[in-house]
């Protein structure tokens, strides 16, 4: 390896991985303590510091094109780091209560984060694949971590079987694209296809396999089958992590693969993604309506939200990508915040039924109000972040000449009102069996508070973040000038 000063460009990743080992050590030294969680958060903060201080603003490719540092990857990495930190914060109490091995838990979360960072930070199919597997293997293990719970094991088994098949499908697609374009580097694939697409049927087959395989990771209907079960069965913080970060990483990889590597056949994958987006949001919203379990409702809601995000992938303009990132950020905060409340309720009502939220408006007025704001954000009602997320996606669809797609989004939002609002109704209009106040552990409170603050700030003052996401380019500028 030609050694130069490029190591600092992946310093954040190295810090995260190192932090993982530290957290593991911390867990071994003092079992049951909260030490690993604090180590993890400190490490993530350090990584974020280096990312923003040292790496941000750079656009360069290092190590024979295996790692790319640009605005897109930096923004996604920052999002992943933030989510991982919030997950660490929210899981203090959960880990203790369920007797999970803290060091291992945090190590797995951090390694999954490293995997995601490489998924967003490379144009090389091999690196993207390894990043994806890194994330996937950690997720499988995290999902099955509640060894006493049959649901957890089942979720983990389903996840790994379907995940492994999806890996096979993605790889089959990659192999076909490689065969046609003669390279595993997306920019070179793009260059090879720019002059015309030889062997179009083969290339399209590769594309379909890629869409299907990545569709599994993005939880796009009908490749979402694993998602509700896994989000339901996994430990609650892990579910929040998968819904937010893992999905965002899948979208990051998909954006790079399709927008950087395969713009030559854009008309074909656009059609597929439009169909998937419509099916996904509609299916997710419709099936969420009948859920009586809070977690399962959130799981189907996650599927629906993935459908909205996919609108950006279908539109595939620079603005749509910005809107997608905005949406993913907005959604992540609201989801993790909502899961904080779910985790708290799960402490007292392990069944996690929506009916358990009766009377929450009295038992925990602040948390109930917070959850209400998150639900509003999911629907897309101001003054919450979800409003701008939907608005920008909507706008990008209309701007790209697909007003009907925007209209379907709106109709879907209408369909989603009953089940999101059902939770609010349960909290405020239904009498609980008890009025006993619910004391919340600090980690849960802080997570909910951060989620609330972010949701409202992004909903009232979106400017800063909009400028940020608008500056992002999926196709890095350096590619136009050659490698």
């Amino acid at each position: 390896m030609p050694v130069d000063g490029s190591l600092r460009l992946i310093l954040p990743e190295i810090i995260v991985a190192g932090t993982g080992l530290l957290a593991l050590t911390a867990g071994l030294v003092s079992r049951r303590s909260r030490l690993p969680g604090f180590v993890s958060m400190l490490g993530l903060a350090a990584a974020a510091y280096f990312l923003l201080a040292e790496v941000a603003g750079e656009t360069t490719q290092i190590w024979s094109g295996t790692v790319l540092v640009d605005g897109f990857s930096t923004l996604f990495k920052a999002v992943f780091l933030g989510i991982a930190a919030l997950i660490a914060l929210v899981s203090f109490d959960y880990i203790e209560r369920n007797g999970l091995p803290a060091g291992e838990f945090h190590l797995l979360v951090l390694l999954a984060t490293v995997g995601m960072m490489f998924m967003a930070g490379s144009l090389n199919l091999i690196t993207i694949y390894i990043g994806l597997e890194c994330l996937a293997l950690a997720s499988y293990a995290l999902t099955g971590m509640l060894r006493g719970s049959a649901k957890s094991t089942e979720a983990s088994l389903k996840y790994i079987l379907i995940g492994a098949i999806s890996s096979g499908v993605i790889l089959f697609g990659m192999s076909l694209v490689f065969g046609v374009a003669g390279s595993v580097h997306l920019a070179e694939i793009n260059a090879a296809l720019a002059g015309g697409t030889p062997m179009l049927p083969v290339l399209l087959a590769g594309m379909v396999f890629l869409v299907a395989g990545l569709g599994v990771k993005m939880a796009a209907v009908p490749f979402h089958m694993w998602a509700p079960d896994v989000y339901h069965g996994a430990p609650a913080p892990v579910a929040a992590f998968l819904i937010t970060a893992s999905e965002a990483a899948a979208f990051a990889a998909a954006l790079r693969i399709f927008l950087v590597g395969l713009p030559a056949i854009q008309e074909h994958w656009t059609t597929v993604f439009v169909a998937l987006a419509v099916i996904t949001m509609t299916f997710g919203n419709v099936t969420a309506i009948v859920q009586t379990n809070m977690r399962r409702m959130l799981a189907y809601s996650a599927v629906a939200q993935a459908g909205y995000v996919m609108v950006g992938l279908a539109v595939a303009s620079e603005r749509a990508v910005s809107a997608m990132i905005y949406y993913l950020i907005a959604y992540a905060f609201a989801t993790i915040g909502a899961f904080a409340v779910v985790i708290l309720l799960g402490r007292y009502h392990p069944a996690e039924d929506i009916a358990d939220y009766r009377g929450l408006g009295r038992r925990a007025p602040l948390l109930a109000l917070t959850l209400t704001v998150f639900m509003l954000s999911f629907i897309g009602i101001p003054p919450t972040a979800g409003f701008f997320g939907k608005f920008y996606l909507f706008q990008s669809a209309v701007a790209a000449g697909m007003p009907w797609l925007a209209l379907i989004m709106v109709l879907n939002s209408m369909v989603s009102i009953p089940y999101y609002w059902g939770v609010v109704q349960t909290m405020y209009l239904r009498e609980g069996e008890t009025d006993a106040p619910l004391p919340a552990p600090a980690g849960v409170r802080w997570t909910a508070a951060i989620g609330l603050a972010a949701t409202l700030i992004l909903g009232l003052f979106p400017d800063q973040v909009v400028q940020l996401v608008s500056a992002v380019q999926v196709v890095p500028a350096l590619l136009s000038g050659g490698l």
């Binding site: 369920n98 007797g99 597997e133 379907i162 003669g182 609002w421 209009l429």
Partner: protein, 798 residues
């Protein structure tokens, strides 16, 4: 720049948030204390009247967010969206109603609510609602308006569902929210289309560019979407379904939401959009059509009710229809009548609702069949009821008469407006006829709720509470409706009082700077007066023959409504969801895999079809020769692989896997990939060994069969997948041998990395990073195995 506008909104919201805390301070008197705030606002805004009458517009605006360049078609932008407030004549009218009626309602509610009810929550919701309503009418761009619009939906949900222990309250609250919030989203979509077409959502800018909007190809869509928002909010047919159920709210809430506030938001939106989107044939048809239909339908349905509150609910639908029809016609006279009726309706309808609250409170019933002769026991209430109901009926010299006359007059002058409308000739006759018909119905039910209840023959029932005979309530409850009833008289006798300061500026807010017709009780003998006379005469006759009328109406069909649709929609959604879910999310991994692969095949097929007729470009029979040994190898590998799923014995299956692996090793050598061959030689046995090891611990599966259909599906899916890919892969030929990075590797591996084996060099040098990363993955897998396996199992959850 006027900072008082945002402050009035923000303080209302802040007071709302603080109300539960203030409860501790003021106890059951909280409502009266809080009522001082809208009262203060009312007085303050009233003081602005002279300036407003001069045409002043108060503004306060802060940059909210910037829509970056490129968000709009054609790459327009960047442009700023302001968090802006503006107070013009139109907003002024609504602000006075919201604050004035708001103060009275809070005062009234303070006495209405029992001592042990949750005053803190109630007035919190109510203040939040006041803030939201003020926000809607003061907003100077569509986004800000939408923000507060949805906030009114949410707070009204909480208000309607305030008595949450009753299932009807909850259902009514939910219905109101679902319908109005969905309508709100439609409004937002319309606003977004307006933004696309006009490049702005500022009302000021839009007013200047209305022409361009109306000729935009998106115009029909944006109009329909915006109107959906307004109609759902104002409970216009066919979206009136939520309003009757919303009567489950405590009566003060109804008095506010359904007279001066919530439902008026829809009216406000239509009035605001009239100069921007109005005046087209489509506008006239949709707006005037929905309005007049609601007028007649609402009044007719009110006749079928026996519950006082239900009658008032349908009456609201009907009266709002009247106003909306006027905005649909859009002539100067019509708009003047509309804004006047907005004012009048709020006054008498709020008084009526408060009267119903008193009656209900005193007698324990709201059924007009049981309520008789109350006038003797509660004279003040009776007086209020008579004045307000006659104003509603349009009897002189009350305020309702003035606006109803103007309504009739406007209905006769729709000719020019309807000129370009298909079927305009018929409509020009139909409109006045339906106006009279609706007014007759209105007249009848107005008498029923006033004369019938207070002066009808019979004994009034005693209150369930058991405090003897019904009597007038304490001053806290009768004072507010008396104020309103007095206002109804004053505005009837001297409508000129409101003309210069309120009605004319409001009309100019819609019409622009024009002369607004003079308001007067007496317009001389003319056609509208004749229509009024006909209404009174026919109404009196019909009222006198009440039982006969009921018999006729009883035989008429119930007007179609959207309740069945609403229920059907929710029900259908539920059923569809259930069906889809049970069918797809079976919980069986095999089903999941089957569905996913099935759809993958469909995608392959659809994509292939979308390419159109393509030749597979096969190079069949392939060029080049195949040694028989190579062919044998391939066939053997396929055959052995095929045996894996079919072997009964697990060990045999593992051995087959090993055979496939061996085949792979031979293939790698054929393809000159010695490194790969060596790796396979190492990795493959380890994997197989793992399988064998695990078998030791695992129970044996005796039978491995599925139902027959499932088996065929499996075969079909797998065969389809294999076949489709085979076919597609046959299209591979004439591979490009472009110079790529790989050449660079080959050229540079010796000089740069000092290695001769390219793959090795790539692994450890050029792709050293990936290799390192891969090792991380391997370690990670080991860690996962370690955590999940039994090494340190410490029991389940505590």
């Amino acid at each position: 720049m006027s900072w008082t506008l945002p402050v009035s909104v923000i303080v209302s919201i802040a007071l709302g948030l603080a109300a539960p805390g203030l409860r501790r301070l003021f106890g059951a008197g909280l409502g009266r204390v809080l009522a001082l705030w809208p009262l203060a606002l009312f007085v303050y805004f009233l003081g602005l009247a002279p300036g407003i009458a001069e045409g002043e517009v108060w503004r306060a605006s802060f940059r909210w967010f910037t829509v970056p360049a490129g968000w709009l078609p054609g790459g327009a932008g960047p442009f700023d969206v302001h968090f802006g407030f503006a107070l013009d004549g139109l907003a002024f009218l609504f602000v006075l109603l919201i604050t004035g009626v708001g103060a009275l309602v809070m005062f009234y509610a303070s006495s209405y609510l029992g001592k042990d009810e949750n005053h803190g929550a109630f007035f919190a919701y109510l203040m939040l609602f006041v803030g939201a309503m003020l926000g809607v009418v003061l907003a100077d761009n569509l986004f800000v308006m939408y923000l507060f619009w949805e906030m009114t939906s949410i707070t009204s949900f909480l208000l309607i569902g305030f008595w949450s222990h009753r299932p009807e309250s909850r259902a009514g609250a939910l219905k109101a929210l679902l319908v109005t919030a969905a309508g709100g989203l439609a409004f937002l979509a319309g606003a977004a289309l307006i933004l696309v077409a006009a490049g702005s959502v500022d009302l000021e800018t839009l007013l200047a560019g209305g022409e361009g909007l109306r000729s935009s190809p998106l115009y029909p869509a944006m109009l329909v979407l915006v109107l959906l928002g307004a109609f759902t909010k104002s409970a216009q047919a066919p979206f009136h379904l939520w309003l009757p159920n919303a009567m489950e709210a405590p009566t003060p809430v109804s008095a506010y939401l359904h007279s001066a506030a919530m439902v008026k938001a829809g009216i406000y939106l239509i009035a605001r959009m009239a100069p921007i989107l109005g005046g087209t044939a489509l506008w006239v048809l949709l707006v005037a059509g929905a309005g007049i239909v609601s007028l007649v339908l609402g009044a007719y349905l009110a006749l079928r009710q026996t519950d006082l509150k239900a009658i008032l609910a349908f009456s609201t639908i009907s009266q709002l229809g009247l106003i909306i029809a006027l905005f649909g016609w859009g002539t100067t006279a019509a708009v003047a009548a509309a804004v006047l009726h907005v004012l009048n309706h709020s006054v008498f309808k709020a008084a009526l609702f408060m009267m119903v609250g008193i009656v209900d409170h005193e007698t324990g019933t709201r059924d007009i069949r049981a309520l008789r002769g109350l006038g003797a026991f509660m004279p003040v209430t009776a007086a209020v009821a008579m004045v307000a109901a006659l104003a509603l009926a349009g009897v002189p010299p009350l305020n309702g008469f003035v606006s109803k006359e103007m309504f009739f007059a406007a209905s006769l002058e729709t000719g020019p407006v309807l000129a370009g409308v298909p079927g305009g000739g018929v409509l020009a006759v139909l409109f006045p006829a339906l106006a009279v018909l609706g007014s007759i119905f209105t007249f009848i039910y107005s008498l029923r709720i006033s004369h019938g209840v207070f002066f009808g023959q019979g004994r009034p029932p005693a209150a369930a509470g058991g405090h003897g005979r019904p009597h007038d309530p304490p001053a806290g409850m009768w004072l507010p409706p008396v104020v309103l009833a007095a206002l109804a008289v004053v505005l009837g006798v001297a409508p000129g009082l409101a003309e210069g300061s309120i009605v004319a500026p409001a009309a100019r807010g819609v019409l622009g700077p024009v002369d607004v017709p003079h308001l007067a009780l007496w317009h001389g003998f003319n056609a509208p007066l004749l229509m009024s006379a006909a209404v009174v005469a026919l109404g009196l006759v019909a009222y006198a023959r009440g039982p006969a009328l009921d018999a006729v109406i009883g035989r008429l069909p119930v007007a179609p409504n959207m309740n069945a649709l609403y229920d059907g929609f929710l029900d259908g959604l539920q059923k569809t969801a259930d069906f889809v879910e049970k069918r797809l999310m079976t919980g069986f991994t095999r089903d999941y895999i089957a569905y996913m692969l099935g759809f993958l095949l469909v995608l392959l097929g659809v994509t292939a079809a979308s390419v159109g007729p393509f030749s597979l470009q096969t190079d069949w029979p392939p060029q080049g020769s195949l040694e028989w040994a190579e062919l044998l190898l391939a066939v053997l590998m396929a055959a052995v692989a095929l045996s894996v799923p079919f072997f009964r014995s697990r060990v045999a299956a593992v051995v087959s896997m090993g055979a496939v692996g061996t085949g792979l090793v031979i293939m790698w050598t054929l393809f000159r990939a010695p490194d790969l061959a060596l790796t396979t030689l190492v990795v493959e046995p380890v994997t197989l060994l793992l399988f064998l090891l695990v078998f030791v611990y695992l129970p044996r599966l005796t039978r491995d069969v599925f139902p027959k259909t499932a088996r065929w599906v499996n075969v079909a899916l797998a065969a389809g997948g294999g076949l489709a890919t085979t076919l597609l892969l046959l299209g591979v030929r004439g591979l490009r041998a472009d110079r790529t990075v790989a050449d660079w590797y080959i050229e540079n591996s010796l000089p740069l990395a000092h290695g001769a084996n390219v793959v090795n060099v790539i692994l450890v040098d050029f792709r050293g990073f990936d290799t390192m990363f891969e090792i991380t993955v391997l370690a990670l897998a080991g860690l996962g195995v370690y955590i999940l396996s039994n090494l340190r199992f410490k029991g389940g959850p505590k």
